[in-house]
Protein backbone atom coordinates (compact mmCIF):
# COMPACT_ATOMS: atom_id res chain seq x y z
CA UNK A 1 0.00 0.00 0.00
CA UNK A 2 3.05 2.25 0.33
CA UNK A 3 4.48 4.26 -2.54
CA UNK A 4 7.39 2.00 -3.49
CA UNK A 5 8.05 2.59 -7.22
CA UNK A 6 7.43 -0.94 -8.47
CA UNK A 7 7.94 -0.41 -12.20
CA UNK A 8 11.23 1.42 -11.51
CA UNK A 9 12.37 -1.40 -9.22
CA UNK A 10 11.69 -3.98 -11.91
CA UNK A 11 13.43 -1.98 -14.66
CA UNK A 12 16.56 -1.23 -12.61
CA UNK A 13 16.75 -4.79 -11.25
CA UNK A 14 16.45 -6.08 -14.82
CA UNK A 15 19.30 -3.85 -16.05
CA UNK A 16 21.59 -4.70 -13.11
CA UNK A 17 20.71 -8.41 -13.35
CA UNK A 18 21.43 -8.62 -17.07
CA UNK A 19 24.78 -6.86 -16.67
CA UNK A 20 25.93 -9.04 -13.77
CA UNK A 21 24.79 -12.17 -15.62
CA UNK A 22 26.70 -11.14 -18.76
CA UNK A 23 29.90 -10.41 -16.78
CA UNK A 24 29.62 -13.69 -14.89
CA UNK A 25 29.04 -15.74 -18.04
CA UNK A 26 31.98 -14.00 -19.74
CA UNK A 27 34.25 -14.92 -16.82
CA UNK A 28 33.07 -18.55 -16.90
CA UNK A 29 33.59 -18.74 -20.67
CA UNK A 30 37.06 -17.17 -20.35
CA UNK A 31 38.00 -19.84 -17.86
CA UNK A 32 36.65 -22.73 -19.91
CA UNK A 33 36.67 -21.97 -23.67
CA UNK A 34 40.07 -21.07 -25.26
CA UNK A 35 38.44 -19.57 -28.38
CA UNK A 36 36.62 -17.00 -26.23
CA UNK A 37 39.94 -16.11 -24.57
CA UNK A 38 41.63 -15.31 -27.89
CA UNK A 39 38.64 -13.22 -29.02
CA UNK A 40 38.66 -11.38 -25.68
CA UNK A 41 42.39 -10.56 -25.99
CA UNK A 42 41.92 -8.98 -29.41
CA UNK A 43 38.76 -7.06 -28.51
CA UNK A 44 39.73 -5.76 -25.09
CA UNK A 45 43.29 -4.83 -26.14
CA UNK A 46 42.00 -2.64 -28.98
CA UNK A 47 39.38 -1.06 -26.69
CA UNK A 48 42.01 -0.27 -24.05
CA UNK A 49 44.37 1.16 -26.70
CA UNK A 50 41.61 3.54 -27.77
CA UNK A 51 41.01 4.57 -24.15
CA UNK A 52 44.72 5.17 -23.53
CA UNK A 53 44.88 7.30 -26.67
CA UNK A 54 41.99 9.39 -25.35
CA UNK A 55 43.76 9.81 -22.00
CA UNK A 56 46.95 10.96 -23.74
CA UNK A 57 45.11 13.66 -25.69
CA UNK A 58 43.32 15.11 -22.66
CA UNK A 59 46.12 16.28 -20.36
CA UNK A 60 45.37 18.90 -17.78
CA UNK A 61 47.28 22.07 -18.70
CA UNK A 62 50.63 21.96 -16.96
CA UNK A 63 50.19 18.44 -15.54
CA UNK A 64 50.51 14.96 -16.90
CA UNK A 65 47.21 13.59 -15.54
CA UNK A 66 44.16 13.54 -17.81
CA UNK A 67 41.00 15.43 -16.98
CA UNK A 68 39.04 12.34 -18.09
CA UNK A 69 39.62 11.02 -14.56
CA UNK A 70 37.67 13.96 -13.19
CA UNK A 71 34.87 13.35 -15.70
CA UNK A 72 34.79 9.69 -14.64
CA UNK A 73 34.61 10.81 -11.02
CA UNK A 74 31.65 13.11 -11.74
CA UNK A 75 29.81 10.31 -13.57
CA UNK A 76 30.39 7.95 -10.65
CA UNK A 77 29.13 10.57 -8.17
CA UNK A 78 26.01 11.00 -10.32
CA UNK A 79 25.41 7.22 -10.31
CA UNK A 80 25.84 7.08 -6.52
CA UNK A 81 23.40 9.96 -6.02
CA UNK A 82 20.88 8.25 -8.31
CA UNK A 83 21.22 5.00 -6.32
CA UNK A 84 20.68 6.84 -3.01
CA UNK A 85 17.61 8.52 -4.51
CA UNK A 86 16.35 5.09 -5.58
CA UNK A 87 16.93 3.70 -2.07
CA UNK A 88 15.02 6.56 -0.49
CA UNK A 89 11.97 5.75 -2.65
CA UNK A 90 11.52 2.32 -1.03
CA UNK A 91 8.65 2.19 1.42
CA UNK A 92 7.78 5.86 1.24
CA UNK A 93 4.22 7.16 1.34
CA UNK A 94 3.40 7.94 4.96
CA UNK A 95 0.70 10.58 5.37
CA UNK A 96 0.02 12.83 8.34
CA UNK A 97 -3.51 14.00 7.73
CA UNK A 98 -6.61 11.89 7.44
CA UNK A 99 -8.96 14.76 6.60
CA UNK A 100 -8.12 18.21 5.28
CA UNK A 101 -11.20 19.97 3.98
CA UNK A 102 -13.15 23.16 4.03
CA UNK A 103 -16.48 22.90 5.81
CA UNK A 104 -19.60 24.68 4.61
CA UNK A 105 -19.91 27.13 7.49
CA UNK A 106 -19.49 30.90 7.18
CA UNK A 107 -16.32 30.83 9.29
CA UNK A 108 -13.11 30.85 7.31
CA UNK A 109 -10.70 27.99 7.83
CA UNK A 110 -10.01 24.37 7.21
CA UNK A 111 -10.78 21.24 9.19
CA UNK A 112 -7.83 18.94 9.60
CA UNK A 113 -7.83 15.57 11.34
CA UNK A 114 -4.47 13.95 11.87
CA UNK A 115 -3.86 10.30 11.05
CA UNK A 116 -2.98 9.71 14.69
CA UNK A 117 -6.69 9.99 15.65
CA UNK A 118 -7.67 6.95 13.63
CA UNK A 119 -4.45 5.09 14.40
CA UNK A 120 -4.77 5.42 18.16
CA UNK A 121 -8.52 4.79 18.26
CA UNK A 122 -8.21 1.59 16.23
CA UNK A 123 -5.11 0.42 18.05
CA UNK A 124 -6.81 0.90 21.42
CA UNK A 125 -9.88 -0.99 20.22
CA UNK A 126 -7.82 -3.84 18.80
CA UNK A 127 -5.44 -4.16 21.75
CA UNK A 128 -8.28 -5.32 24.00
CA UNK A 129 -8.92 -8.38 21.86
CA UNK A 130 -7.48 -11.63 23.14
CA UNK A 131 -7.52 -13.33 19.73
CA UNK A 132 -4.86 -10.99 18.36
CA UNK A 133 -1.15 -11.28 19.06
CA UNK A 134 -0.50 -7.80 17.76
CA UNK A 135 -1.96 -4.91 15.79
CA UNK A 136 -0.58 -1.85 14.08
CA UNK A 137 -2.31 0.94 12.19
CA UNK A 138 -0.65 3.33 9.73
CA UNK A 139 -1.88 6.21 7.61
CA UNK A 140 -0.53 6.04 4.08
CA UNK A 141 -1.00 8.16 1.03
CA UNK A 142 -2.47 6.38 -1.98
CA UNK A 143 -2.65 8.45 -5.18
CA UNK A 144 -2.82 11.63 -3.11
CA UNK A 145 -5.63 10.29 -0.92
CA UNK A 146 -5.08 9.21 2.67
CA UNK A 147 -5.79 5.58 3.44
CA UNK A 148 -5.51 3.40 6.52
CA UNK A 149 -3.60 0.16 6.71
CA UNK A 150 -4.57 -2.06 9.63
CA UNK A 151 -2.12 -4.89 10.13
CA UNK A 152 -3.26 -7.52 12.60
CA UNK A 153 -1.63 -10.72 13.75
CA UNK A 154 -4.33 -13.26 14.65
CA UNK A 155 -3.47 -16.08 17.01
CA UNK A 156 -3.45 -19.60 15.64
CA UNK A 157 -6.80 -20.92 14.52
CA UNK A 158 -8.74 -17.64 14.55
CA UNK A 159 -11.26 -17.58 11.69
CA UNK A 160 -10.17 -14.72 9.40
CA UNK A 161 -13.62 -13.94 7.97
CA UNK A 162 -15.13 -13.45 11.43
CA UNK A 163 -12.23 -11.24 12.41
CA UNK A 164 -12.55 -9.26 9.17
CA UNK A 165 -16.23 -8.62 9.82
CA UNK A 166 -15.52 -7.40 13.35
CA UNK A 167 -12.67 -5.11 12.27
CA UNK A 168 -14.94 -3.83 9.54
CA UNK A 169 -17.51 -2.84 12.19
CA UNK A 170 -14.81 -0.92 14.04
CA UNK A 171 -13.95 0.89 10.82
CA UNK A 172 -17.61 1.76 10.25
CA UNK A 173 -17.76 3.25 13.75
CA UNK A 174 -14.66 5.27 12.92
CA UNK A 175 -16.30 6.49 9.70
CA UNK A 176 -19.11 7.96 11.82
CA UNK A 177 -16.66 9.72 14.14
CA UNK A 178 -14.56 11.21 11.37
CA UNK A 179 -17.48 11.90 9.06
CA UNK A 180 -15.73 10.61 5.99
CA UNK A 181 -15.09 7.24 4.41
CA UNK A 182 -11.38 6.53 4.08
CA UNK A 183 -10.10 3.57 2.06
CA UNK A 184 -9.07 0.88 4.56
CA UNK A 185 -6.89 -2.14 4.00
CA UNK A 186 -6.97 -4.92 6.58
CA UNK A 187 -3.95 -7.19 6.36
CA UNK A 188 -3.84 -10.33 8.47
CA UNK A 189 -0.28 -11.48 8.88
CA UNK A 190 1.26 -14.52 10.44
CA UNK A 191 4.42 -14.10 12.39
CA UNK A 192 6.60 -15.76 14.97
CA UNK A 193 4.51 -14.30 17.78
CA UNK A 194 1.31 -15.81 16.39
CA UNK A 195 2.98 -19.15 15.76
CA UNK A 196 4.61 -19.74 19.12
CA UNK A 197 2.07 -18.33 21.56
CA UNK A 198 -0.81 -20.49 22.65
CA UNK A 199 -3.66 -21.12 20.28
CA UNK A 200 -6.96 -19.45 20.97
CA UNK A 201 -8.92 -22.32 22.45
CA UNK A 202 -11.99 -20.70 23.91
CA UNK A 203 -13.96 -17.97 22.25
Amino acid sequence: MNGTPRALNRILLFIIGVKLLAVGLLLVLLATVPAVASWWHGWSASAWAGAENAFRQTHLPGREESWLWIVAGIVLVAIIIAMIAWLSQQGKGRANLLVASDDDSAVDGEVRIGGGVAEQALRAALSERTDLAGASVATLEVKGQPGLRIRIQPRQGVAPHVLAAEVSQLVEALDLVIGQKTPVLVHMVSGARARFTKAERVR
Binding site: L12, L30, A37, A159, A164, L185, H187
Partner: protein, 215 residues
Protein backbone atom coordinates in the same frame (compact mmCIF):
# COMPACT_ATOMS: atom_id res chain seq x y z
CA UNK B 1 -1.05 -11.47 -18.81
CA UNK B 2 -0.12 -8.43 -16.78
CA UNK B 3 -0.92 -7.99 -13.13
CA UNK B 4 -3.49 -5.32 -13.94
CA UNK B 5 -5.49 -7.53 -16.28
CA UNK B 6 -5.31 -10.36 -13.79
CA UNK B 7 -6.72 -8.31 -10.92
CA UNK B 8 -9.36 -6.81 -13.18
CA UNK B 9 -10.45 -10.29 -14.20
CA UNK B 10 -10.74 -11.35 -10.58
CA UNK B 11 -12.80 -8.28 -9.79
CA UNK B 12 -14.94 -8.64 -12.93
CA UNK B 13 -15.63 -12.28 -12.10
CA UNK B 14 -16.67 -11.06 -8.71
CA UNK B 15 -19.23 -8.56 -9.94
CA UNK B 16 -20.74 -11.07 -12.38
CA UNK B 17 -21.18 -13.54 -9.52
CA UNK B 18 -23.24 -10.90 -7.70
CA UNK B 19 -21.30 -11.39 -4.48
CA UNK B 20 -20.09 -8.66 -2.18
CA UNK B 21 -17.15 -6.78 -3.71
CA UNK B 22 -13.62 -7.84 -2.87
CA UNK B 23 -12.30 -4.34 -2.39
CA UNK B 24 -14.94 -2.81 -0.15
CA UNK B 25 -17.02 -0.03 -1.65
CA UNK B 26 -14.11 1.89 -3.10
CA UNK B 27 -13.38 1.06 -6.75
CA UNK B 28 -9.90 2.59 -6.40
CA UNK B 29 -8.94 -0.14 -3.97
CA UNK B 30 -8.25 -2.66 -6.74
CA UNK B 31 -4.88 -0.96 -7.29
CA UNK B 32 -4.05 -1.30 -3.61
CA UNK B 33 -5.09 -4.94 -3.60
CA UNK B 34 -2.93 -5.66 -6.63
CA UNK B 35 0.01 -4.03 -4.87
CA UNK B 36 -0.63 -5.93 -1.65
CA UNK B 37 -0.78 -9.33 -3.35
CA UNK B 38 2.42 -8.80 -5.35
CA UNK B 39 5.94 -8.25 -4.10
CA UNK B 40 7.34 -4.71 -4.33
CA UNK B 41 10.89 -6.11 -4.76
CA UNK B 42 12.07 -3.53 -2.23
CA UNK B 43 14.51 -5.98 -0.64
CA UNK B 44 16.24 -6.94 -3.89
CA UNK B 45 16.29 -3.28 -4.91
CA UNK B 46 18.01 -2.25 -1.68
CA UNK B 47 20.64 -4.97 -2.12
CA UNK B 48 21.24 -3.99 -5.75
CA UNK B 49 21.50 -0.29 -4.95
CA UNK B 50 23.97 -0.87 -2.11
CA UNK B 51 26.05 -3.13 -4.39
CA UNK B 52 26.21 -0.47 -7.09
CA UNK B 53 27.02 2.23 -4.51
CA UNK B 54 29.91 0.19 -3.08
CA UNK B 55 31.35 -0.58 -6.54
CA UNK B 56 31.01 3.03 -7.70
CA UNK B 57 32.46 4.31 -4.42
CA UNK B 58 35.58 2.19 -4.82
CA UNK B 59 35.99 3.20 -8.48
CA UNK B 60 35.49 6.82 -7.47
CA UNK B 61 38.22 6.55 -4.86
CA UNK B 62 40.74 5.13 -7.34
CA UNK B 63 39.76 7.61 -10.06
CA UNK B 64 40.03 10.52 -7.61
CA UNK B 65 43.42 9.37 -6.33
CA UNK B 66 44.58 9.03 -9.93
CA UNK B 67 43.22 12.46 -10.92
CA UNK B 68 45.21 14.28 -8.25
CA UNK B 69 48.30 12.20 -8.98
CA UNK B 70 48.54 10.28 -5.69
CA UNK B 71 49.62 6.62 -5.37
CA UNK B 72 46.70 4.14 -5.74
CA UNK B 73 44.93 2.68 -2.71
CA UNK B 74 44.55 -0.99 -3.74
CA UNK B 75 45.24 -1.15 -7.46
CA UNK B 76 46.04 1.41 -10.11
CA UNK B 77 43.26 1.60 -12.79
CA UNK B 78 45.81 1.09 -15.59
CA UNK B 79 47.24 -2.03 -13.95
CA UNK B 80 43.72 -3.33 -13.31
CA UNK B 81 42.80 -2.84 -16.97
CA UNK B 82 45.93 -4.64 -18.13
CA UNK B 83 45.22 -7.58 -15.82
CA UNK B 84 41.63 -7.77 -17.09
CA UNK B 85 42.83 -7.82 -20.70
CA UNK B 86 45.26 -10.66 -19.97
CA UNK B 87 42.48 -12.51 -18.20
CA UNK B 88 42.62 -16.25 -18.54
CA UNK B 89 46.33 -15.88 -17.74
CA UNK B 90 47.45 -14.67 -14.34
CA UNK B 91 44.71 -16.42 -12.35
CA UNK B 92 43.84 -20.07 -11.88
CA UNK B 93 41.01 -21.11 -14.23
CA UNK B 94 39.17 -22.73 -11.32
CA UNK B 95 39.09 -19.47 -9.35
CA UNK B 96 38.11 -17.49 -12.44
CA UNK B 97 35.30 -19.91 -13.31
CA UNK B 98 34.04 -19.98 -9.71
CA UNK B 99 34.00 -16.20 -9.34
CA UNK B 100 32.27 -15.95 -12.73
CA UNK B 101 29.64 -18.41 -11.56
CA UNK B 102 29.06 -16.40 -8.36
CA UNK B 103 28.64 -13.15 -10.32
CA UNK B 104 26.32 -14.87 -12.80
CA UNK B 105 24.24 -16.25 -9.91
CA UNK B 106 23.87 -12.79 -8.41
CA UNK B 107 22.82 -11.49 -11.82
CA UNK B 108 20.28 -14.29 -12.18
CA UNK B 109 18.88 -13.48 -8.73
CA UNK B 110 18.21 -9.85 -9.70
CA UNK B 111 16.98 -10.80 -13.16
CA UNK B 112 14.46 -13.34 -11.83
CA UNK B 113 13.23 -10.83 -9.26
CA UNK B 114 12.62 -8.38 -12.11
CA UNK B 115 10.98 -10.81 -14.53
CA UNK B 116 8.88 -13.18 -12.40
CA UNK B 117 5.38 -12.02 -11.39
CA UNK B 118 6.32 -11.91 -7.69
CA UNK B 119 2.99 -13.16 -6.39
CA UNK B 120 2.78 -13.28 -2.62
CA UNK B 121 1.22 -16.14 -0.68
CA UNK B 122 -1.93 -14.18 0.13
CA UNK B 123 -5.64 -14.41 -0.55
CA UNK B 124 -8.33 -11.74 -0.59
CA UNK B 125 -11.50 -11.92 1.49
CA UNK B 126 -14.86 -10.39 0.63
CA UNK B 127 -15.96 -7.58 2.87
CA UNK B 128 -18.54 -4.83 2.25
CA UNK B 129 -16.49 -2.02 3.81
CA UNK B 130 -12.78 -2.78 3.87
CA UNK B 131 -10.30 -4.48 1.59
CA UNK B 132 -9.02 -7.60 3.35
CA UNK B 133 -5.77 -9.38 2.51
CA UNK B 134 -4.90 -12.54 4.43
CA UNK B 135 -1.59 -14.39 4.54
CA UNK B 136 -1.98 -18.01 3.50
CA UNK B 137 -0.59 -19.15 6.85
CA UNK B 138 -3.49 -17.49 8.66
CA UNK B 139 -5.98 -19.32 6.41
CA UNK B 140 -4.06 -22.55 7.01
CA UNK B 141 -4.17 -22.25 10.79
CA UNK B 142 -7.92 -21.54 10.76
CA UNK B 143 -8.55 -24.52 8.46
CA UNK B 144 -6.28 -26.72 10.59
CA UNK B 145 -8.34 -25.89 13.66
CA UNK B 146 -11.53 -26.90 11.84
CA UNK B 147 -9.96 -30.10 10.49
CA UNK B 148 -8.67 -30.96 13.96
CA UNK B 149 -12.12 -30.72 15.54
CA UNK B 150 -13.67 -32.69 12.67
CA UNK B 151 -11.08 -35.48 12.89
CA UNK B 152 -10.99 -35.38 16.70
CA UNK B 153 -7.20 -35.37 16.87
CA UNK B 154 -4.64 -33.08 18.54
CA UNK B 155 -3.12 -30.00 17.01
CA UNK B 156 0.16 -31.72 16.12
CA UNK B 157 -1.56 -34.38 14.01
CA UNK B 158 -2.94 -31.95 11.44
CA UNK B 159 -0.91 -30.03 8.92
CA UNK B 160 -2.54 -27.75 6.37
CA UNK B 161 -0.72 -26.26 3.38
CA UNK B 162 -2.49 -23.43 1.54
CA UNK B 163 -1.35 -22.42 -1.93
CA UNK B 164 -3.05 -20.23 -4.49
CA UNK B 165 -5.31 -22.87 -6.01
CA UNK B 166 -5.11 -25.78 -3.56
CA UNK B 167 -5.53 -26.55 0.12
CA UNK B 168 -3.87 -29.81 1.23
CA UNK B 169 -4.96 -31.17 4.61
CA UNK B 170 -2.64 -33.86 6.03
CA UNK B 171 -4.10 -35.79 8.96
CA UNK B 172 -2.28 -38.45 11.00
CA UNK B 173 -5.01 -40.29 12.89
CA UNK B 174 -4.60 -41.63 16.41
CA UNK B 175 -3.72 -45.32 16.35
CA UNK B 176 -6.83 -47.43 16.85
CA UNK B 177 -9.43 -44.79 16.11
CA UNK B 178 -10.93 -44.28 12.69
CA UNK B 179 -10.92 -40.84 11.05
CA UNK B 180 -13.46 -40.25 8.31
CA UNK B 181 -11.89 -38.54 5.31
CA UNK B 182 -15.37 -37.43 4.19
CA UNK B 183 -16.06 -35.66 7.48
CA UNK B 184 -12.75 -33.75 7.39
CA UNK B 185 -13.29 -32.81 3.74
CA UNK B 186 -16.82 -31.49 4.28
CA UNK B 187 -15.80 -29.59 7.42
CA UNK B 188 -12.84 -27.90 5.72
CA UNK B 189 -14.88 -27.16 2.62
CA UNK B 190 -17.67 -25.60 4.68
CA UNK B 191 -15.17 -23.42 6.54
CA UNK B 192 -13.55 -22.40 3.27
CA UNK B 193 -16.91 -21.48 1.77
CA UNK B 194 -17.67 -19.29 4.76
CA UNK B 195 -14.34 -17.52 4.31
CA UNK B 196 -14.75 -17.37 0.51
CA UNK B 197 -11.17 -16.37 -0.28
CA UNK B 198 -10.34 -15.03 -3.74
CA UNK B 199 -9.17 -17.05 -5.67
CA UNK B 200 -11.07 -20.00 -4.23
CA UNK B 201 -8.76 -23.00 -3.76
CA UNK B 202 -9.75 -26.67 -4.09
CA UNK B 203 -9.44 -28.98 -1.04
CA UNK B 204 -7.56 -32.26 -0.86
CA UNK B 205 -7.37 -34.43 2.27
CA UNK B 206 -4.52 -36.90 2.84
CA UNK B 207 -4.98 -39.45 5.61
CA UNK B 208 -1.69 -40.95 6.76
CA UNK B 209 -1.68 -44.76 6.68
CA UNK B 210 0.27 -45.00 9.94
CA UNK B 211 -1.29 -43.73 13.14
CA UNK B 212 0.13 -41.87 16.12
CA UNK B 213 0.40 -43.79 19.39
CA UNK B 214 -0.74 -42.32 22.66
CA UNK B 215 -2.13 -39.06 21.30
Amino acid sequence: MTQDQETQQVIAANFSAGATPVAGEDPGMSRILRRETHSSRAGASVIAAILVIVLCGYALLEAGVRAIGQPPWLIDPTTAAERIIALPNGISPLLLGASGAVVAMAGLFFLLHAVLPGRRARHLLRDPRTAVVVDDEVLASALARRARTAANVTQEQVMVVVSRQLVVVNVRPTSGSRVSEEAVLTAVQAELEQMSPVPMPAVRVNLATSGVIGA
